[in-house]
């Protein structure tokens, strides 16, 4: 650490710096890391600590004083102390009056306390201008400079100028401040680093549940049924055959579920004759996780593609192929080319390839940097037009692939339909309703409603 501080110092300005002194309360891990980074960016740093004995872990150019002395030297005081020790600040309230006090604390659990740490601090120090910031940055990242993950620093506070001062420091450290409004936003900011893909939770559980259901459904129909009635042990189907049956089904259903809420919303708006009433909560939530549903669908589709492509390499498939060829050879005959079969096989492959291609295109525009560089018209064109094209192609791919089995009794083992038939239910409903909705006689009133027209204006009063 010592050898390192010298080359950090090399970056510090030595002349005519006008940056204001920053005071840091607390010499823990994060306090030290922040101090190092600030000195590097040209800020004089003074530490407030219980013991003013200088530890060699503290940046060399920083002063260490008592809390009261340190606070008097700076206009900005960063509290790098855990919430449970905040009450030691109460005696310092008078010294901190009018100063900018920055709360950088995090909790261990979501909504651990009734009020956010920053609001609690503001209650303890009524005269101070409390700003919440820096809680999303890790000490390790600050120290190593390896800011691979987010450089975003959420900032909130009731005093606009205090917030501006903190945001200038954030910018000077090479990070990106994001103004989140008043101190009431602190709860959300403190919860942010504790979140683990909150938007993905529902889509993930839904897909895991559906996957488990389809897995046991296939297990019953493909392995157990075959074992009981045909005495064949096809247990190795668990590795590839069944996953490759589940993946396309999941991809198609999830893709259809992306477009179902839009269709439902249109029906609700048409029925109510106004857009000024809120949708049911479940529909709102559904609409906000469409992107996640779509990306999980794309993941399943990709797995389906790879599982399909490896099939010629499978021991079972090679055995089946050679068995077929040998039996033809032993019977001394060659089957002629079945053109209908060739058409069906080639067209479901081609439909699948095109569907997957457009699916990947739509997926690429979901990358933050790509969606950020297109305008709204382009974004909607890709997400809606290309998305529906994908859904149509994938549904057609499934229909052409399995169409012949709809009427075949052997497809209904234990009187249950094959899962690819189940997979077609939702997409077909979505496509049929959407097809009805684009008819001019229905599309026109819907467009009017979406532009603000109301069939029954009393609703909105």
């Amino acid at each position: 650490m010592n050898t390192n501080s010298s080359n950090i110092m090399a970056l510090a300005p030595n002349t005519s710096t006008k940056r204001e002194t920053v005071c840091i309360f607390g010499t823990g891990d994060f306090g030290r890391a922040l101090g190092h980074k600030m000195i590097q960016s040209g800020y004089p740093v003074v530490y407030g600590s219980r013991s003013t004995q200088i530890s060699n872990l503290i940046p060399k150019d920083a002063e260490v004083l008592s809390h009261a002395e340190a606070a008097q030297k700076a206009a900005i005081i960063i509290i790098a102390i855990q919430r449970q020790h905040y009450n030691f600040l109460t005696p310092l309230a008078e010294i901190l009056r009018g100063k900018v006090v920055v709360d950088i604390s995090n909790n261990l659990k979501l909504n651990q306390y009734p009020e956010s740490n920053a609001e609690y601090l503001a209650q303890l120090l009524p005269g101070a201008k409390v700003v919440k910031a820096f809680n999303t940055v890790s000490a390790w990242a600050l120290q190593s400079g390896a800011l691979d993950a987010s450089r975003q620093v959420f900032v909130c506070g009731d005093d606009v100028e205090a917030k501006q001062m903190v945001m200038n420091i954030v910018r000077a450290l090479g990070l990106t401040p994001l103004d989140q409004g008043s101190l009431l936003a602190a709860q959300g900011i403190e919860n942010y680093p504790l979140q683990l893909f909150p938007m993905w939770k529902f889509p993930m559980f839904l897909s895991l549940g559906l996957t488990a259901f389809f897995f046991f459904y296939c297990l019953a129909l493909d392995i157990i049924y075959t074992y009981i009635y045909e005495k064949n042990n096809f247990s190795f189907f668990i590795a590839i055959t069944i996953p490759n049956r589940i993946c396309p089904v999941m991809a198609l259903i999830l893709l259809a579920l992306v477009y179902l809420p839009g269709v439902l919303a249109a029906i609700i708006q048409l029925y109510r004759g106004t857009k000024y009433r809120r949708f049911p909560d479940w529909l709102d939530k559904w609409m906000l996780c469409r992107k996640q549903l779509g990306l999980i669908a794309l993941a399943f589709a990709s797995l389906h593609a790879v599982f399909t492509l490896v099939s010629p390499m499978r021991s079972f498939v090679r055995w089946r192929t050679s068995k077929g060829i040998i039996s033809q050879a032993l019977n001394n005959k060659t089957e002629p080319l079945d053109t209908t079969n060739a058409w069906l096989s080639d067209s479901y492959l081609a439909l699948g390839i095109l569907g997957f291609f457009f699916f990947v295109l739509v997926g690429i525009t979901s990358l933050p940097s790509v969606s950020n560089s297109v305008n709204w018209r382009e974004f909607r064109f890709v997400q809606s037009k290309l998305g529906y094209l994908t859904l149509i192609l994938c549904t057609a791919h499934t229909l052409v692939y399995g169409g012949k089995w709809f009427l075949s009794p052997s497809a209904y083992r234990w009187y249950l339909p094959n899962i690819y038939m189940l997979s077609l239910v939702v997409p077909c409903i979505v496509l049929v309703v959407k097809f009805v909705l684009v008819f001019p006689c229905i599309d026109k009133p819907l467009t009017q409603i979406r532009q603000g027209w109301e069939r029954n204006p009393k609703y909105s009063e």
Copy 2:
């Protein structure tokens, strides 16, 4: 909506806010959405409206006054009204004198009016400081917070301070302002949200045209010719065989077209002996859409890869394979391994894989966030060096694949060359000229010219 406004309010600051009041003229969809978002970010909002009757759609904390009263309360007035109603503002010109007036309007068509809406507004209100902003943001995105697409807000105006005030509001709403200069840029800003991939238009039309041409070319040679002269119905080739013949041809030609303008520019500069004369317009335009051409080429290459990989699963291919094996079996003989054939087959596959691999690498660096994190030297290394390597590998892949057919008369149906021969014309020209250009005796004067040297200095005067 009502239940929603309460939790929006929860985010509004309740103490010591110093944000200036903002006035919004117009209580339509966008005016309301903007008002909501501004209150959420701590701005007091006052609406100017014809009827001051308070609708429950308007944010609860906003005042609704007459236009004149509302305008007097704020330094910034946002005009959320359509252009055709702007003339009602003329009587207010005196009140708006010296104020910042923000034009957020959009048109329905590109270049709908001779002058931009913002310039028209500036003519109507000669004393006001007109700023164009917010037109690229959708009301729905503001309301739902689902800013998946661009957070960029283009801002322009003649008064620097007025622009700065508006940009501060933009930042406070969590959006990214982009200063576009004076009000003369408003026309471009108003056209921006109406654009649908303008840079992609020419490359798309070019590839559609070429694809259609090659499709009919293949249809004639592969299906109609075979049907007439060999009595075989290979109509199912339309699904996979022909697309997989067109895709690699298109990918190779478009990739070569990415590098052709650079080579042409070098020849023009060498011929003129100076870099200070503009290239012909078509060359300038061509150079600006190279990235798009390259990405379309990559799309065709990807399709070619997948179409090729599915081939062992095709009914036709399986029939052809088993036919070959059965005829060998019936003749009681096994053909020995043809090492030359194995070499050819393996090397064109390996060349294709490597070419595709580098093509994808170059494609990944075209992602905005990746190209933003490399410096110019690295960007040029990838786009030029790796790009040429891709072109060389793909051309070699095609040559090895089809080389044996160049001299075979059966490849010339109706005396027409096979399309893979056509596909080699442009890439070979580009590679040969590039090869000549890297010779020191030609590279040296070219480098000098590009550093500003002129063979004939009178040209530049």
Copy 3:
């Protein structure tokens, strides 16, 4: 150029602009491009030049004066001149006193001069406020507006206000300023545009070295050994078979090398009982290039996937398959399905597919825009949890694939192990050590140490 300047003019503000005049010394390529862009953004520009004769290459609205006259007209002077001519500025030192002088120069080599150009300029002009900026932008990009690569402009300087003024100009030109601290950072900023993927150098050399080693190893065992002892000429294995043997080995080893330093660091911390001592230098460097190692491993894994998928299309594989089928047919027998074989074949394929799938997921989160939009907890979840899952799946894939050969003597040609056995060494070590480290009795002290606890506190004094 001339025809172009008129439409650039169209964008210039014509009224009430308050932007300060900028002076540019030097009328070379970059000086002109910068001037054009500044006029476009509303800055009055005055050129300082030896000959005040107006060239038609200089933007029409710019004045051209002598150096002294030009400098007096502006508060900011941009030095668009090469370092070797800086000494002509010495007589102007008095005029430049107190002014902001912007150094935009670049060198031809890394660390070409003992001190950076900007520091040298500051020594020549002791009274001027020297700011380093704009050196990362190319003249061509400024002129054409095709800022595909980085829009980032690194800015450094000792005077905070001067730096702020320059950063405002940078923002107005549509670029993103990044404050890098004091003028001592200029050396790094001047080196930046000369770098060519510095973080990739070690991982690239390591993988090239390993690849070469494994290539000759395979060449010896697979081609030369076969040629000598079995008289078979399998030289065509060089094209696909050997690359497809090297790629998975490289992918697995490099992936394991991504996780090895983390495991080593944990052992070192446990041994020392503190986290407050620096790791050896090689370990620090290794840790900082883990992302690059992982991405190269992903590239090898992708190549392995494609090489494997094309195998049914290879002439050699088709010959081998038909030979097997024909020999069965001629012997008049059909081999029954070997269920164990089917299980092995399907499970190593499935493990490989899943491993590759999670590998790609981890790779996608390495895209700057994706990693920027997740918080630290999410980033670590993906990079560590999913990363280890990938390593486990890929190791299992290799074990299942080649497990049967470990005990077979034919796998040890010339008493050397097959390379897939070599590839398992590092991953197995990493997984075993990691498995030990997650045991509570070891994990608990490690977590304490990482939270700042020290077994032997005297170490840190």
